[in-house]
């Protein structure tokens, strides 16, 4: 394993972004993701890139908007309250069909909240990234390796579909170190004939814009965009199944919750309980198919979350109420323990879920 290095999740994201061809980073300090900015500040000047500490999250996302308008790969990162500030920009990026890569290393909320790990921005990421009808591709890493992998993937998806791809991590994923291999085949960015790089007096001017005052025109843009979203839903959903085939009880968990749940599943299996786990890797598009399939045989689902229960709604929708879905959670920066999840599994095995 000599090709692997130990890296913090935040650093893995930063290095993977550079490998993916990102040469522009804009951000504003906030715990627990500041290592990304620190890494970029050190590295970018040495490779002809640009790191700039913006005056606010709002400015940072608009600097991203500016670079993206010129067709180059660009990113920003923040944590929950900072992402809320960026939501204006996220909406404009969507309205102008600009690719962007965003990282949210979540902390507990609402308000200033705390700085310990959380998953309570699930709704914000998958439902309400900003005003208006739009979606973002939301990627949920559950290891430091995936922090890097999904960063590379995120840049490619953002370019491919001209939209925002967000890595939705949490404080644990950002701060922990695990071995990482950074050996990637990087897809070159596609041609971007729409980019505003100067006409050179050789073509009509390009306009990057999200204003369409004629409702018929604006409606058409929305319809067209949702055709694209439909295609993404059918083709880009990612997930991992763990011991699901014979499972009576199926856990739904992403990120750090999936890591904890995996320990609990192993313990429950030792005790003879048929339990498995579906780990969504994309939160949007939500991987409905494996849940629909599991609902054919599972007697109960448990959504394990570091929130008051947000993904559980998608699990309920995907399983079409064929089996009860219960919540096993901690909130405010607390993390469920494997024992807590094991208890929930046992409870479900004893019919407690009904």
């Amino acid at each position: 394993m000599a090709d692997k290095v130990l890296m913090k999740g935040n650093e893995a994201i930063a290095e993977a972004a550079i490998l993916a061809g990102c040469r522009h980073y804009f951000g504003y300090p906030i715990t627990p993701q500041t290592e990304i900015a620190a890494y970029m500040a050190k590295k970018m000047p040495k490779i002809g890139g640009c790191f700039l500490q913006a005056e606010s999250e709002i400015a940072a996302i608009n600097m991203v908007y500016g670079v993206s308008s010129t067709g180059k790969r660009v990113m920003t990162s923040s944590s929950s309250p900072g992402i809320a500030l960026k939501s204006e920009g996220l909406s404009y990026l969507a309205g102008a069909d600009l690719p962007a890569f965003i990282v949210n290393v979540q902390r507990g909320g609402p308000g200033l909240g705390g700085i310990q790990p959380s998953q309570s921005d699930y709704f914000q990421a998958t439902r309400a990234g900003g005003h208006g009808d739009f979606r973002m591709i939301v990627l949920a890493p559950a290891s430091v390796q995936e922090m890097a992998d999904l960063t590379v993937k995120g840049f490619a998806l953002a370019d491919k579909y001209r939209m925002t791809a967000m890595v939705l991590a949490d404080g644990t994923m950002g701060q922990m170190m695990e071995p990482v291999s950074l050996d990637f085949d990087i897809e070159p960015a596609p041609e971007k004939p729409w980019a505003t790089t100067g006409t050179k007096l050789e073509r009509e001017h390009n306009i990057v814009n999200s204003l369409f005052l004629a409702p018929e025109e604006l409606e058409k843009f929305n319809f067209d965009r949702y055709e694209r979203y439909k295609y993404i839903e059918e083709n880009e959903a990612m997930y991992e199944e763990y011991l699901v085939d014979d499972a009576d009880i199926v856990i739904a968990a992403f990120g750090i919750a999936a890591r904890v749940s995996r320990s609990a599943v192993n313990e429950a299996r030792k005790q003879g309980i048929k339990v498995g786990m579906i780990r969504p890797i994309t939160l949007w598009p939500f991987p409905k198919a494996p849940f629909e399939k599991a609902a054919e045989h599972a007697k109960a689902f448990i959504s394990v979350e570091l929130s008051m229960g947000q993904m559980i709604e998608d699990v309920q929708l995907a399983t079409k109420c064929k089996a009860p879905v219960t919540l096993c959670n901690r909130a405010g920066g607390m993390i469920p323990s494997p024992e807590q999840v094991l208890e929930a599994i046992k409870n479900a095995a004893n019919g407690g879920a009904k």
Partner: protein
Amino acid sequence: MVVFDKPHALNDMPMHYCPGCTHGIIHRLVAEVLDELGIEGRAIGIAPVGCSVMAYNYFNCDMIEAAHGRAPAIATGVKRSDPENHVVFTYQGDGDLASIGMAETVHAAARNENITVIFVNNAIYGMTGGQMAPTSLPGQVTQTSPYGRDVNHCGYPIRVCEMLSQLEGPEYLERVTVNSVKNIRNAKKAIKKAFQNQLDGKGFSLVEVVSSCPTNWGMTPQAALKWIDDNMLPYYPLGVYKDRSAAKEEAK
């Protein structure tokens, strides 16, 4: 013999501005400068939210429409994407630049971001129908200050050039107006200098253009131009507020 022609950098799209509005003049001055400096093909303009929101339709260069107040941040991204080749300007009104976008304005200036800012100050929110702006004069009647701007209640108008001149960062700050032929000529000189500074790598250059809004001021265009002389200029005196290169020259 051609005695009057449209600059190449402006296209044929009919403008949506009200009769007597000075945006048309200022657009033309910017376009003439793009022509004269031969930079239309390298130029990327950032339009604001406000009356000039659709400026992106009128300039022939590449254009980006910004969220309200964020043009300097977007311009920062565009400029830094290719500092050698991109010539970047923002075109912003007073609500956009001096209210909701004040942080972006001040910090772009403090960084001496190598961009050109055209700041159109007509002391009112035009697009939304005549509300009080951060630059509305004391006592000025607007839709949201129907009894006149009461400085004890909502504070004083902001003099942007004077304020930014206190910063170490910016290269060049000048206030001009376009209410007479002479003033229009001066305005063009200032705008040209603001672009030339960018080409010379000198940094943040802002030209504040004191303008009129006959529609929302409730006057004829002629009366509005006179109102600039009588009311705006005493509060917003014309002149150069900062010119670092000139100051250095003088010091020699």
